[in-house]
């Protein structure tokens, strides 16, 4: 006897079920409901429809003839409103039908973030043809679109809208795009390629409200950035459409729960597609739905079958953004990361191997071999035999080793190699072609690496790339095991290639690890913030604890707190506030430092925000006693009180400290100003020292009084206080821009030479002024009190995440 099958939802999953059923010659009388006013079509092809590469007709999978041929009663454009399990009927907006078997295939609904303005006209989601047509209409009117959500759907919507001429910005909550499928490196390349297509991307953007009166006009972010928008597309995720099942009393968790036969808690009701939950899994891609569809058909035919969850892979349907990800690619213990980067072709590949089995893969730029890798992951193939060449794909079994020169080979001819003399790669190549085959001749003909010398490594690499085996690069110490490049090489790359983020450096310099280590990350963080103060955002997680917590960690895990005393001057009020704080927080040790200020030692982490707030309230700020940055400016009393004083050394010290504080430098930076050559402030063993004389100010640099002891060398004598301040700012900036991370000034000076520094700061007044301007630009961001910021905004992060002290163990 013919049974009645009612299907709710004509989507990608139910379409497959019906095909399998009819192919097997099943004897079912089918009624197909669909809320959309149309039958089954290929939903994943909506993106090509949006971009204009396809039309709706191209993506229809089942047409009126097909339904007629199989005797399917179509009730399209009709919502099902109720399932009555006792009566075994389904009720739609236009009436009730009985069923013997029922299939729920309602898919999922887009998630709408609950912000003000979400219901305004012009705010749409991306799920069906109507949404797609709404976007096409909006794009025809031109203007600006904001896409909320940088996942698969959001990026496909953004690319389509750009294709149709809109000005598009994508807002993404997380730090990099498609964070569920990609790691940071691949996310960086994707962002760059999208940017080249004209899609702007803002990461870590949290939407606060959608603005507008009668129609959307803009989007406001939590940080108060405002963006204009004529269209807002919300693509922040989906949620299984389970309302009917819940109302019918079926067992529903996040999705409609099914067994391996795809039956719900009522055996006559089956469910398939994105609306289901199986064994804790939800589904958002078609591959598993097609497997489910087969099982549903078998179950309806009373044949045994069981659904199993398999590994999934992701691709993005945006032309020019070739990416692939599959499996689990989190790194770690027992897992080996194999990374390959080809900066020339913009290729990134990362394979994660565990126990001789490939468990995950992320690829960007060249995904030709993705199905081969996916096969290895899915089949859990033992890869021990091909491990060494695995990264090169199936064609390279026997392959070539990684090329440490790839990064330099990839540089364009106009990439600046020598910053001092403005020499580009092309000029060096030309010199080599003209017969300069060693470093000395290249230097003589082009001047490249002839000044400060820090680009020597890169010049040698250009020689090696151009001459091949005829030139051997002398071994130089790389930053750490993550890279073959030296500090100097990387600094030049950051400047000349405008690398403004860590993933950009990792990719363009061919980092061998996916995200660096504790040695290279702090160095890169400094280089990036020194070279790109506006573009780069400081990364606290790449800083050593002292700089992350703005206090010095002590051997017992407590911290020290050193408030600034400008130029070593304090007041009774400040001293009282310090004394009060020491009492209140039971500070065990109060010590006078060698930097002319007071150190409160032994403060507990969770007390830091409070003690800072108290010190702030008394007008004091962080002394940065913990930073690779400006520490103190030590002074003597000078003309104020001393009978020998020639200038106001204390005043100059205070001014210098107020100008320089908060700046980050390659290593710590200590200054002193003495009022006469008797030098009571010991200025001539500081990084930068000033000795006042009758005729002006002697600025000298490169002193040290630590493991090495060195006297400063005279940089210049200047007549006015303002000149002294400018010279000091300029030399500080030159040091920030050129020195290797963790080189004090004396070490840097030993490498570039005092004459090189003098040429820029003493002889070339334009250069001095330009350095001062760049220093000021950076200070516009960094000259602020981190204590105030942390105690008001980040206090929680200093406290325990939870306190379970009272939680009983048993």
């Amino acid at each position: 006897m013919t049974q009645k099958l009612v299907v709710i939802g004509a989507g990608m999953a139910s379409g497959r079920v019906l095909e399998h059923l009819f192919d097997a010659g099943a004897d079912y009388d089918v009624t197909l409901f669909n809320a959309e006013a149309r039958g089954n079509y290929n939903r994943i092809m909506l993106s090509p429809v949006l971009s204009g590469d396809k039309t709706y007709d191209d993506i229809v999978t089942h047409d009126a003839d097909w339904y007629a041929e199989h005797g399917v009663t179509c009730r399209f454009g009709e919502h099902v409103t109720e399932i009555d399990r006792d009566a075994k009927t389904v009720t739609g907006q236009n009436g009730t039908v009985p069923y013997d078997k029922l299939l729920i295939a309602t898919g999922s609904a887009p998630f709408i973030i609950p912000v003000q303005g979400k219901d305004l006209p012009g705010v749409i989601t991306y799920r069906d043809l109507d949404d797609t047509n709404a976007m096409i209409d909006a794009a025809a009117r031109g203007g600006k679109a904001v896409v909320i959500g940088g996942g698969l759907l959001g990026l496909e919507a953004a690319a389509g809208l750009v294709e149709r001429g809109m000005d598009v910005t994508v807002l993404h909550l997380m730090g990099h795009l498609m964070e569920r499928q990609l790691d940071e490196s691949a996310g960086f390349l994707l962002r760059r390629d999208l940017h080249d297509k004209g899609v702007k991307v803002i990461c870590q953007a949290s939407t606060a409200a959608i603005l507008g009166d009668t129609h959307v006009e803009g989007v406001m972010l939590e940080d108060n950035t405002g963006l204009e928008a004529d269209l807002v597309v919300m693509a922040v995720g989906i949620r299984p459409e389970t309302r009917l099942a819940t109302d019918a009393g079926l067992s529903v968790a996040r999705g409609v729960e099914v067994n391996a036969q795809m039956q719900t808690s009522d055996p006559d009701i089956l469910a398939v597609g994105e609306c289901v939950e199986f064994d804790g899994h939800l589904f958002g891609l078609v591959a598993p739905l097609y497997d489910q569809a087969k099982v549903v058909a078998r179950t309806l035919l009373d044949e045994p079958a069981a659904f199993v969850v398999k590994e999934l892979s992701t691709k993005l349907k945006v032309t020019g953004c070739d990416l692939f990800s599959a499996g689990d690619f989190a790194d770690g213990e027992g897992r080996e990361d194999i990374v390959f980067r080809d900066p020339m072709r913009g290729v990134y590949r990362r394979l994660v191997v565990e126990d001789d089995i490939l468990v995950g893969a992320v690829m960007y730029g060249d995904t030709a071999d993705s199905s081969w890798y996916f096969g290895l992951i899915r089949d859990k193939t033992d890869i021990s035999e091909m491990r060494d060449t695995l990264i090169f794909g199936p064609a390279y079994q026997g392959g070539t080793p990684l090329d440490p020169l790839a990064a330099v080979a990839a540089l364009p001819r106009d990439a600046e190699i020598c910053g001092c003399n403005g020499i580009c790669k092309g000029q060096i190549e030309d010199a080599i072609a003209g017969g300069a085959t060693d470093l000395g001749t290249v230097r003589a003909t082009t001047k490249a690496s002839g000044s400060c010398g820090t680009c020597t490594g890169l010049v040698e690499q250009v020689l090696a790339v151009t001459l091949g085996d005829d030139f051997v690069v002398p071994a130089a110490a790389s930053i750490c095991g993550c890279t073959d490049m030296t500090h100097e090489d990387v600094r030049r790359m950051i400047k000349s290639q405008k690398l403004t983020s860590m993933p950009a450096v990792w990719q363009e310099c061919g980092w061998k690890t996916s995200c660096g280590c504790h040695v290279c990350r702090p160095a890169l963080n400094f280089y990036l913030l020194a070279d790109w103060p506006l573009e780069y955002q400081d990364d606290p997680q790449s800083r050593f604890i002292n700089e992350r917590k703005h206090a010095n960690i002590q051997k017992d895990g407590t911290f020290s707190v050193v408030p600034r005393m400008w130029g070593g001057i304090t007041t009774p009020d400040e001293l009282r506030a310090i004394a009060d704080a020491a009492d209140k927080y039971m500070v065990p040790t109060v010590k006078v430092t060698g930097g002319q200020r007071i150190d409160l030692l032994g403060v507990k982490s969770e007390d830091l925000p409070d003690i800072w707030a108290d010190l702030n309230a008394a007008g004091m700020v962080s002394g940065h006693a913990y930073s690779k940055g400006l520490r103190t400016v030590k002074t003597c009393v000078g003309t104020d009180h001393c009978r020998f004083g020639t200038q106001d050394s204390t005043g100059l010290g205070i001014k210098l400290e107020k100008e320089l504080w908060g700046s980050w430098t390659p290593h710590k930076l200590k200054l002193a100003v003495s009022g006469c050559p008797r030098n009571c402030a010991e200025a001539t063993c500081k990084d930068i020292g000033v000795v006042c004389v009758d005729s002006g100010y002697q600025v000298s640099i490169g002193g040290a009084a630590g493991m090495d002891v060195k006297e400063t060398e005279l940089l210049v004598q200047v007549p006015t206080e303002q000149d002294a301040i400018n010279v000091i700012k300029a030399v500080t900036q030159l040091y920030r821009e050129n020195a290797k991370y963790l080189d004090r000034i004396y070490k840097w000076m030993g490498k570039v030479g005092l004459d090189w520094i003098k040429k820029r700061i003493v002889d070339d007044l334009d250069e001095r002024a330009a350095l001062v301007d760049r220093f000021e630009l950076s200070q516009s961001i960094y000259r602020k009190d981190p204590w105030a910021e942390h105690s008001s905004q980040k206090a929680d992060s200093y406290r325990p995440l939870a306190n379970l002290s009272l939680e009983a163990a048993e």
Binding site: A330, E333, I545, L801, A802
Partner: protein, 111 residues
Amino acid sequence: MSNWIDIAALDEIPQRGARMVKTALGCVAVFRTGADEVFALDNACPHKAGPLAEGIVHGKSVTCPLHNWIISLETGEAQGQDEGRVATYPARIENGRVLLDRAFLRARVAA
């Protein structure tokens, strides 16, 4: 009844960072990696009891802030030349929340 204790939202731990959880028997450090996994370890380096929660997190390791020992977050084992191990406790993420196994409190009593 589940044996997992809800500790806090994942967002409250910075990526490649850690936060501390106080217990009656000392502090446990809860780490979050760049790939959003969580791990719980005693907050005391096997070398000289450095507070691991304050270290730099890279991959599934943390570098101790006091003398740069590198500790595996998965096994608690010191890496490279150094030898030593800290206790680890089960931790997981569910719906954006960080959970610790109640058993860890008991384990700490026994330890």
